[in-house]
Symmetry: D2
Subunit: 378 residues, 4 copies
């Protein structure tokens, strides 16, 4: 529980911001898959800070070392453990936070939960740094999915009030690749420019700013997901809320659906030129009843502004039990949303690969007869 998830592809994340290392164990990967480590490093670099004025100055190479599960560059069927060393920690910066919890950080709640005994330097196990092993695990899952025709992409949908264009009805691998190569992962570079200005403005004001990420998955078979509490939405939401600063998750048009009429929100079924069943629109985000339709899976994640800001903030001293004012030092991002983009792709990849691994009935069906009478791929 807690720092692990998955049914048959089980991921356990470990580590603290200022400990020896961070990492993950992934149990349930298929055997014999060749991991493209260059591609994995490029994926992981997308979440890395320190590249420009928009991010923290903390730089760490974040190269995963495979302790187990990989033989001669291929998965070997057994739990894959990867470690990423912590090499660039400056603990002194966090010395008084144990007594004066930072507003809207986990300092206070972790303090209560573990009676002050948790190692919360740099946010401890709650640090955004823990998304690095999640990315490494998810990057491997993405490669496996890609080899099966399933592609995952995400972009900054908004920063503050600046919006990027949404994904088209049928995003494709080329679009995903184009976005992934950008230093600032948006569809419209004009809007991306405006977003970066928003971030720099926040930074100059010793402040931070939030945003949203839109993610899509293409090439999914229809019929993936379980009823009620184990649908694609349930599983994804559980994992996405495990990414620091995520405060909202919606599928398809999400909250906007609550303002629509049924006649607008419903997605009519139709048959395309090659006889496949599609929906004309995709307000549902490719999921009905928790189960995939075969249309692109599409969801959006809302991320709060980095709680660490350089302005003085009101808090309390736990030891003196009185109100006080805190000034946070250390290196912090004025916006973390752009760094969350690959993390969200990684989470999606792990959830989807788990579902494909766990569903023997689906596997039988795919092999035996395909989805005759139904669309299988959008």
């Amino acid at each position: 529980m807690a720092s692990s998830f998955g049914e048959r592809l089980r991921v356990s994340v470990f580590g603290e911001s200022h400990g020896t290392g961070i990492g993950a164990v992934i149990d349930g990967l298929p055997a014999g898959f060749p991991i493209d480590t260059d591609r994995l490093m490029r994926f992981m670099e997308r979440r890395q800070g320190g590249r420009n004025a928009l991010s923290t100055s903390r730089k760490e190479p974040d190269v995963p070392r495979f302790i187990s599960g990989v033989t001669d560059g291929k998965t070997n069927g057994f739990p894959l453990c990867l470690e990423i060393a912590n090499t660039n920690t400056r603990s002194g910066d966090y010395s008084n936070l144990a007594d004066c919890p930072r507003p809207s950080h986990a300092d206070y709640t972790a303090g209560v939960k573990w009676n002050g005994k948790a190692d919360m330097r740099g946010g401890g196990h709650f640090s955004g740094r823990l998304t690095a092993p999640l990315c490494a695990a998810g990057g491997i899952a993405k490669q496996i999915l890609s080899s099966r025709g399933i592609e995952i992409g995400a972009h900054l949908r908004s920063v503050g009030s600046v919006q990027d264009d949404p994904f088209p009805l049928f995003p494709d691998a080329a679009l995903f690749a184009e976005i992934a190569e950008k230093a600032f992962p948006v569809i419209s570079d004009v809007q991306g420019e405006a977003m970066q200005n928003e971030i720099l403005a926040a930074k100059e004001a010793l402040d931070s700013v939030g945003g949203t990420v839109e993610c899509a998955v293409t090439g999914l078979p229809a019929g993936l997901g379980d009823p009620m509490f184990d649908g694609v939405e349930n599983r994804l939401a559980r994992v996405l809320f495990g990414i620091p600063a995520v405060k909202g998750v919606e599928f398809g048009d999400g909250f906007a659906l609550s303002e629509m009429r049924g006649s607008q929100a419903n997605d009519p079924f139709c048959i395309d030129g090659s006889g496949r069943i599609l929906t004309k629109t995709n307000h549902s985000g490719g999921i009905l009843g928790g189960i995939t339709t075969g249309m692109p899976l599409r969801f959006r994640v809302g991320i709060k502004p980095t709680p660490s800001i350089a302005q003085p903030q009101e808090t309390v001293s736990l030891s003196e039990r009185k109100n006080t004012v805190l000034e946070i030092k250390g290196r912090h991002d004025p916006c973390i949303v752009q760094r969350a983009v690959p993390v969200i792709e990684a989470a999606a990849a792990l959830v989807i690969l788990d579902l494909l691994t766990a569903d023997a009935q689906l596997a039988e069906k795919e092999n035996h007869d395909g989805f005759t009478g139904y669309s299988d791929r959008a």
Copy 2:
């Protein structure tokens, strides 16, 4: 998996819309708790249709029969199984849906997943009717929580574009009770009137409309919830997306946080007159790092319009593999959001009671020494 959830308080939901009965098994309830069945029935009636022009004309008493787990009106420590009979089913209405899937329903995805062999009459196991046993289970959990000083309330936060007032910073049991007694569960009756007009307008247009529900939980100890993937947010989101038509979940200010600066979004800590630690604002919804702060837990759920509408809709015939037009008959709500209100309370109650049941370290702490140095109750 699938139709069950919970760590030590485990809930399994069973039944189909047109089968013999529906129900739930709840394993892990404390022993010796006297169930107030009148109170439970009043709670369940809040989700029931057929009371006015806003709801479906299908009326069923929905009285849960306890098969096990209850002796002399008290929980007896063992799994509680409750059954609700299906007495008012008109299967004929659904005869052609197996071939022509209703847009934005689970007909199609369930058809693919189970190769057409699932009993999807009336939506089958995906029917909104399955929220009745969830309400029964959650109604019992609510009573247990209430006996421990934890109260749960919810209201219609919006219907279409009409908004209700939000919960105040500190909602209390009196407010929850006041809302629960209303036929239309809102804070502002003026806004409630406007919402009902919105629903009636949709109905007249042979259409439906969506909305949102805001829910709050008070009296929670600080320190409840586990890191990463088992925080309060993760667990709640997983269950909430199991309620039919839910397409978005957000905590605290949720997606609105993504448009804020950190200086606006952060909740400053402070000490109140009686020495307790609070936050001055509650943009975080009472959760930081997945763990409760002791402030009220607050979240919002986005619900799509009822997909069953009386207007002709485009769909496909699976057998003839061609486009066609569908007219849905049967009894359907022009808006289901008001009926979802107690269901969301029920889900919250079950998740919170599970967390309290599972966390032995928290239990020890509460008993041994309280949260010295910290606020325990808001």
Copy 3:
């Protein structure tokens, strides 16, 4: 947890000996399977008491009523809930047991665990009666497995010191059927006679007697089971110890292996006439490293004597906190081992079907290419 098990085929058992009813929910069955209810009743009758001098005089028809999951006699893809009514309870017999716990029953431990608030009349949720719904669930699983060429059989391997013949190296469906039809399920009727005499002798001495059950599963594919803690042995053992009075579980030659040399215990591989890979012996019981070899799965379960005996026994009065003597009234079996035989088959069926349902990689392999280079069926 607690009263449920399974990964993708999830079984939850509910009920108490003296409550309204007992039953089970089975989530994850394949859709469209026609349940042969006559066959199911015949299977369930095998565990039923009251047929002869060897069993308790409590007679109940134990006909499962399907509340959900079955449409027109076929599984419908959704959780199957079945209820068996409790019709023949005489609670008066158990009145003083709450104060004076019966030796080697769960009265005392349940009393401590639930502070005396559990309904322990007739053993409550710990009663052997709760094996009826397990049999019903497992009986359905057996039928599904049988349709896939997997057969399960069991027999009384010993009662007291009297031994039945062991299963041969390759037991088959005919042998299983022959045993199942016997009123006293043994291979050698001569030994069965001696066992029955042993039971009657115990009964006359106001005593009870224990025994062992041997179970075998044939037709399993090789490669089923997961490493370490989720192998076939691990999963089976967890469920088998959930059957009342089970105190030992061993696979293949089990404890006898501990007295052997490796050269005796090892099973040499060989290729049979049709090119399949077998082992010449099966000391390992068809499992190596937790994973099936394709040889028959074989295990043995040790069952203690019924703790309820008519002789006076020493115990304590909890209220008076002093030593006392207890005379147990009520109806009890001098031996329950023969009734446990179908229960053990049922447990095996559910565990095996779960494994087959959960293993998508196995499913893909079976369909794509079979086990070329390996034996697939023994």
Copy 4:
């Protein structure tokens, strides 16, 4: 799943015999516990080979490196990852095993399961070497339990046909410590001598020999464990069968109970001089209905002879699909039972600490009122 277990104290084991390293992640440890690393090393040395003629000549220091979860020598509340480097591997020895599976090893079944793509050199993830991280994790759990008055000990109960004395009715920490300090962990050194002769005789015959281990846990509260499928027996059995070569598990007198009458097997309750409730005998091994009685928990594990023996053995060539003869090279123990002793203690410690961590109701009871009216500690 697979290589992990536990409800709230979750253990994941990773690594292969010939990979970079092996290790474990333990999620759910209490925060602030000081790990005595000297004591931990002494515990781990008990399972280590290479010390005398009875064990393999492979020597590795097996010092766990803490990657996370430990700060300043204390647990910090977050998942503890420990790695043990693989430094002494000679892969050449295993070169032809991929084609010619060793009898009664997992080579064949793993080959089938992963289509020959698993890294099975040295047994891969199935190697006895993987018990090292289990010991490290369990050694930490043992220290935590010991600080709460719960002690765990085990000894070689038999090797081949040579039996050690059984544990007395009330084993204590002094006895456990005395056994743990012996190079050959038995109660009777005379019998230990005979066992060692048995092992040496097997070695000289190029053979191996099996045995059994008896384990006891003292100081447990009564009332620990959940009904049916999550009792102490169920949980322990699931983990114990994860230890390589374990083929049988029994609790209390186990299989011997099946040969007893109820009047012999039942444990009479009584009140001792200080008013505590005990049982006069402990045939049940301290567990009734899956729940602890407060008497010592006692169980026995049957272990098969090491399957790797130096004698030529019959097997098949998978590539040539014909019968052949195999001679196993490499370093192997003529008996592994003595090395399994601390591994079984470790498994018990992890299962017990998990149960104590997961049971909030028990925790509340212990703190609020103790077990008035019941014995709490033996």
